[in-house]
């Protein structure tokens, strides 16, 4: 009774705050939790909860899983706008009190507490790499916390990327794991065995420790170029609308989750192909006669993937970096990104920390021009298309400008 009352109050609070023009999804959960600290736990009872975490791809994978689960015909609760801590999860559940399924993107630091609170049917572990280290915990420490949390939840199925040694180590404590060969483009954080510290031997995607028994587990689902190899060994073309290797990887993970709900891969894929943009990412908009595509990436691994996704030269590129709280206030990570692949392209540089980016590009001998805003970039690009890659708040700023109709 108290949970239902608190839920109503939480929903009301969110309505009020949305009318006030603020982000309702967090404040609603915050107020609900203040009235009933166990609200998330109470709201999870009787539902099948899926928690999705990792450094990159959480929002997109959550969206793809929700799409795939549409094949069940059941109502799904999800924090579609990326509010991924306790209040955001609470609000997502309170908004859909009758949804038997919940697909919840979860911040990688909060996953142990969220496992405890929601007693999930499935936990998805995508990848783990350096990200906003001025406020996040160190990643070896995170992997250890994941490991402990999963060991304490033996009834939970873990769907994990076997190609990421830190993720594989964290997941191997779980009662049941579906291993997915989802690939690992960024390897700078997994040179060494998370178990014993020795150097890992690497052959393609395969890895094994040179000194202890830790090795890549046998996989059930495999991403192979633009196809997925299912557990029966059949190759299916992905044909996603979302671009890039990283999203193909997210889709294969989503297929493994769908399998746990009895959805076959062709049905799940058909639903996932309808996803064209995720919270504004990959959106293409026309502005001043230029087709602008917005890509969001927040850390070195994400930028590496995003630079791969971009349309090739001669399509010009606008790069933008901010260093506000949600971005991480430290721009050191720019030096972990290899920008030399931009040689010979038209590159424009914006964002509040464009001087950091400028000095970084200069060191890689990439020619560029500084711009004050996205319209100046469109003006200077003089091209039918423009690819935009920005980190979190820089992306939101550009989206606020180009998201509006001309």
């Amino acid at each position: 009774m108290r949970a239902r009352l608190a839920t109503t109050v939480g929903g009301a609070a969110a309505t009020v705050s949305r009318l006030a023009g603020r982000d309702g999804s967090v404040i609603g959960g915050v107020i609900g939790l203040r009235l009933e600290p166990d609200l998330l736990s109470l709201l999870s009872v009787g539902r099948q909860v899926i928690l999705v975490t990792g450094t990159n791809g959480k929002t997109t994978t959550t969206r793809l899983i929700s799409a795939a689960l549409a094949a069940t015909g059941q109502q799904i609760a999800s924090n579609v706008f990326g509010a991924n801590m306790e209040a955001g999860l609470t609000y997502a559940l309170s908004r859909a009190p009758d949804a038997p399924l919940a697909v919840l993107e979860t911040d990688e630091k909060y996953i142990p507490a969220m496992i405890k609170a929601t007693r999930p049917k499935v936990v998805v572990l995508l990848n783990l790499s350096r990200d906003q280290m001025d406020r996040a915990a160190e990643i070896w420490m995170l992997a250890r916390r994941w490991r402990e949390a999963l060991a304490a939840a033996p009834g939970t199925l873990v769907v994990a990327n076997a190609d990421d040694p830190l993720v594989a180590w964290a997941a191997s404590s779980a009662g049941a794991v579906t291993w997915v060969a989802a690939g690992q483009r960024w390897r700078e954080d997994s040179w060494c065995c998370p178990h014993c510290g020795a150097h890992l031997a690497r052959h393609g995607d395969d890895w094994s420790c040179r000194e202890c028994a830790n090795r890549r587990p046998p996989v059930r689902w495999t991403l192979q170029d633009d196809q997925v190899i299912d557990p029966a060994g059949r190759a299916l073309p992905l044909r996603l609308t979302l671009p890039g290797r990283a999203n193909a990887s997210n889709a294969v993970v989503a297929l493994a989750v769908a399998e746990a709900f009895g959805i076959d891969a062709p049905s799940a894929l058909a639903e996932m192909r309808t996803v064209a943009s995720v919270a504004g990412r990959y959106t293409q908009v026309q502005r001043h006669g230029t087709e602008v595509r917005l890509l969001l990436a927040k850390n070195p691994a994400g930028w590496l993937e995003a630079l791969d996704v971009m349309a090739p030269a001669p399509v010009p590129v606008l790069l933008a970096v901010n260093a506000q709280g949600p971005d991480g206030r430290d721009t050191s990570w720019l030096w972990d990104v290899d920008f030399r692949r931009l040689h010979g392209r038209t590159v424009l540089v914006g964002g509040e920390r464009r001087m950091d980016l400028a000095v970084r590009l200069e060191a890689d001998d990439v020619a560029f021009r500084l711009v004050d805003d996205i319209d100046q970039a469109i003006d200077l690009a003089r091209s039918p298309r423009l690819e935009v890659l920005a980190n979190y708040t820089a992306f939101q700023q550009y989206r606020a400008v180009v998201g509006r109709a001309e």
Binding site: D134, W140, M141, L334
Partner: protein
Amino acid sequence: MANSPTHGWRPLRLVWVYPDLLSTYGDRGNVLVLERRARLRGMPVDVIEVNSDQHVPADGDIYLMGGGEDLPQVLAAQRLATDGGLPEAVRRGAVLFAVCAGYQVIGTEFGGAEGQPMPGLGLLDVSSVRGERRGVGEILADVDPELGVPRLTGFENHQGVTKVGPEAKPLSRVVAGVGNGDGTEGAYAGRVLGTYLHGPALVRNPGLADLLLTWAVGQQLPPVPAQAEELALRLREERLAAVGTPQ
């Protein structure tokens, strides 16, 4: 060192020590800045990246060590001690620049993953322990006037508290931020220099980069063409202004 910008002898050898364990915060930036500023003066450069399963060559001119998490830091200290290449290079007079976790490792002692004391390499007379709180944020510090390097600007993110022993001198005095924890920041002795300015510390501090290069070649360097460092100086001024100077 058998090297000179004016005579163009053998290339300057930059040795990046253990990027597999100690390069958490864009530490490649220091390699790129040193390489660039050497080349701008006509000096050829060889960059040698040495992972922790490889031997550290002792014949480098400048050695660079970066930052890392607790466990990789302990592994790096153990492997460097066993390998012996870096201590030998320092005995032979090479320049060593170490930041953050690397700074702690080259000291006599540092705090391990659970805070327990771990032996360092003893290449610089500093000893570190784990403090109560993490120091995270922009840092400004005024360098020992003997070194002739302008105010340092950088970012720090560490939980270390470091005591500078009698065989070393503090590198600088903190103007804003935490540093060693006693109002000083970093330390140096001879041609070995350590700092808590993490990751690409030399990017905003071209004067510090030039100090290392000067130590390596043993003579004053010609200036870098003004145009070539315009962006770096603009970034530097922007960051200095953004942090401001507390009274």
